[in-house]
């Protein structure tokens, strides 16, 4: 996985490695915090090599964003189109999203935490993705609930935010429950809200869900 310093790589391999290293450092230190020097060094190489592959720091970051967003988009598209019912479509969407977050934690931070504090170009890339997902979700909602445009879009934006919020929490809390359980929980919330739980105040639990570990 990590390439030892002093080894010569073919251009394509070096480029791929640089992207991996850059993703790690950008996720850890942020866009400002990660200098080109540091990225090069972490890759066991010097700065000009980095500039042979990416014309500027912006270009490097942009390439990363595009790659990650592309992958996430593909996986979501697959999830949406494979399912049959609308509820299943939504549930699979959540699963695909959370699977991505679970497997590409660095990428998630990059996309939805780091990129937002940067200029409009970067924000735009993420905004375009969000728009795409929201449109997809809005279509599902509209098909299911027969809602007029602006309300469907508002709810779609809310759903997207829900996924992001839950994902951020899940990572911050060190993955306190299995991804799939979380995905099901979100799908249930979107579909039926809290109404699906026994109404009234407070029993200690035991509604019917699988038991979840309380520990760290």
């Amino acid at each position: 996985m990590s390439v030892p310093a002093g080894v010569r790589l073919r251009a394509a391999d070096r480029r791929a490695q640089l992207l991996r290293v850059a993703r790690r450092l950008f996720a850890r230190d942020g866009y400002r915090g990660a200098s080109m020097e540091a990225i090069a060094e972490a890759a066991g190489v010097t700065k000009p090599v980095l500039y042979q592959h990416f014309s500027s720091k912006r270009a490097l970051y942009s390439a990363l964003l595009a790659a990650e967003l592309g992958q996430l988009t593909e996986e979501l598209e697959a999830a949406f189109s494979q399912a049959e019912g609308n509820d299943e479509r939504l549930r699979r969407g959540f699963r695909a999203y959370l699977d991505f977050v679970a497997g590409q934690e660095d990428a998630f931070r990059l996309l939805f935490t780091e990129a937002l504090g940067l200029d409009e170009d970067f924000q735009g890339q993420v905004a375009a993705f969000r728009q795409w997902v929201a449109d997809r979700v809005a279509a599902i909602i509209a098909a299911e609930a027969g809602l007029p445009e602006p309300r469907a879009r508002a709810l779609a934006a809310a759903i997207v935010g829900m996924a992001e919020g839950a994902a951020g929490w899940w990572l911050a809390e060190d993955r306190p429950l299995p991804v799939n359980d979380l995905a099901d929980e979100l799908a249930g919330l979107a579909w039926k809200g809290f109404a699906r739980f026994p109404a009234g105040s407070g029993g200690s639990g035991g509604s019917g869900g699988p038991p979840v570990p309380t520990g760290t």
Copy 2:
């Protein structure tokens, strides 16, 4: 509102003005993008004056974050504690949140877009706030639905994300519907999901909600 250059102000007034100006510039240009020089100039003053009131750029930003988060916290607290039923509590929470966003657009960008791309100190301030809201919401959920800890907390994080996502969308789309309508929509989603709409594919709407303008 805006203080003309060349006017001498009392320390407290100058400090308040500097905070206002800084908030605007930070929201527009980001933390990196807004230089201390630029902030001072926009306030009709020179850099050392800025440093008389705030020992560093970080301190300035931190003061801003603290002030805005404090205000938002207060308003949410008021909303939560005034209401009676749990559903009403949640709805009022959404309203308070969205009212803040509507009235303090700059602050919203600062808190939930800009601050996240910065170091852990700043992120921590926002994280602490999110945690607080999530705890409050989790308590409401638990009281209503009788859920065990981790699930309630997961859903609470999702609700918070929902509000943020919807608020971001609402601003990006230039406020396409009244805040209160959006708040009601979110409360409905959280409480009953899509299940409250006529099931099955497609009628043109007319469930019972207030009519919403289709235009820009």
